[in-house]
Amino acid sequence: MKQKLISALLPVTALVLAGCTASPSATDYDKATADILKNSFQDRGIAKVDRLVQDEANRECAAADVAGKPIDEKVAKAIEAANMKTVKWPSDGKFLGDWKEGEKIAQSGRGLTWRDKADDANGGNCYNCHQISKEEISFGTLGPSLYNYGKLRGVTDPNAAASKAIVEYTWGKMYNARAYNACSQMPRAGHKGILNEKQMQHVMALLLDPASPVNK
């Protein structure tokens, strides 16, 4: 009787409970979760339900988190390789823009929520997770400190050949962090269209320009 009541009222979970006498398996829970997610969200503004569709990287990393285990090494390598292919280098060959503009982008946490408009300029959310300049005391600690980012890496002239590797890595990391770390928590600013090329150049300058307060 109880079973029937549940089936009648909750078609979602009935799938799990109707057929089994033993306790449900992890797969049953996965299936029930997928159904719950599908039924629980609605489009609002620019945030449509298709944002719940997970790519392979997100699916694999989340599954590892649920299991409480690190992601399989081979899977990780495959995710990193696939994401590396997405990285687009600056079309004009310039990696650095204006650090002052970069600071504004780093400060802004705006953009891409259901309250934002499609053509609003997005922020980089950088200070939410990273220390960057020393002057801003309101910074997050989810990511490592980026204070003295360029200085610590010996970047005295970002255009010099000696700086090439670190400049390219920084661009790539910002463009698609998952190319270097399969389950990195850092948003894929370039790949997901959060920041445009110009904005990325400005943030690059904030981190690497010797004149930027970050490197003072």
């Binding site: 549940i6 979760t33 969200f41 944002r51 891409l112 939410n128 005391i137 928590q185």
Partner: protein
């Protein structure tokens, strides 16, 4: 930028003393600020309103909510909140405080639940629902969380909640765990509770409904989760949807033995 420059001039002196010291001073200053706010929490205004609404004859059936069963029997308020979300036989669903109160408003008072569910937060009957949740939750102040997990539906919701907690998506690849999956992390200056375990008395699940000073609004857990998903760049969770309740079960079970300080006051 303007704020950045202000911070620059205002805290220059502090920073000269060294970064670590400045961070300690900042943390201490903020702790002091929060302490000063404790006295005179405007959440009490909403609690009072909820108390009035609870005993008031309202709705098409002109009835009070005094016979509402929140899991411990009709009209039993004390201790109900710290055992929710839980399974309810009459609806065949696991329900959190807010969705359960809505059921009572529908069955006892004759309100149209579907209409209320679609009402924006802080408007009309939705605002009343938040006040009612504040009042009911406050009756368990000082009590410890102890969600039931005996019913298969309750277990299912825990497992689903855990999976939803780690689900990465949206434009930024965020999950709940991006911010709430580790100890001692912050966004900007805001401490982030680790919700994969008991984060401590009056922290995380044990602190909502809360009055938010940043916008002078009273937020229940439904709105708290709604705004988390907004910042996560996810689509909008429907009010009282299974995903929100599953997350409540996951956080609530993890918070077992944590003391409720509800209604709290928050940034």
């Amino acid at each position: 930028m303007k704020r950045h420059l202000l911070a620059l001039t205002a805290v220059g002196a502090v920073l000269a003393q060294g970064q670590a010291w400045a961070q300690d001073a900042t943390a201490e200053g903020i702790a002091k600020y929060r302490e000063m706010l404790e006295d005179g929490n405007p959440a009490e205004l909403f609690e009072m309103k909820g108390e009035e609404l609870w005993a008031q004859k309202r709705g098409p059936k002109n009835a009070t909510l005094e016979q509402c069963d929140l899991g411990l029997g009709p009209g039993v308020l004390k201790g109900a909140f710290v055992q929710m979300p839980r399974y309810f036989k009459d609806t065949g669903r696991v329900q959190d405080l807010e969705s359960r109160l809505l059921t009572c408003m529908e069955t006892l008072q004759g309100f149209n639940a579907e209409e209320i569910r679609k009402t924006p937060f802080r408007r009309g009957e939705m605002a009343n629902l938040t006040a009612l949740a504040t009042y009911v939750a406050a009756q368990s102040k000082g009590m410890r969380f102890n969600l039931p997990q005996a019913h298969p539906q309750e277990k299912l919701m825990y497992e689903a909640g855990k999976r939803i907690f780690f689900t990465r998506g949206g434009t930024h690849d965020f999950s709940c765990a991006s911010c709430h999956g580790a100890d001692d992390k912050r966004i900007r200056l805001q401490d982030l509770p680790n919700l994969t375990k008991n984060p401590g008395d009056g922290i995380g699940f044990a602190a909502w409904p809360a009055y938010r000073v940043s916008n002078s609004q009273m937020w229940g857990m439904q709105l708290r989760l709604n705004d988390c998903f907004r910042q996560q760049r996810f689509p909008e969770p429907k009010f009282g949807s299974d995903a929100t309740i599953a997350l409540g079960v996951y956080m609530g079970v993890n918070a077992k033995t944590a003391e409720s300080i509800v209604p709290a006051i928050k940034r």
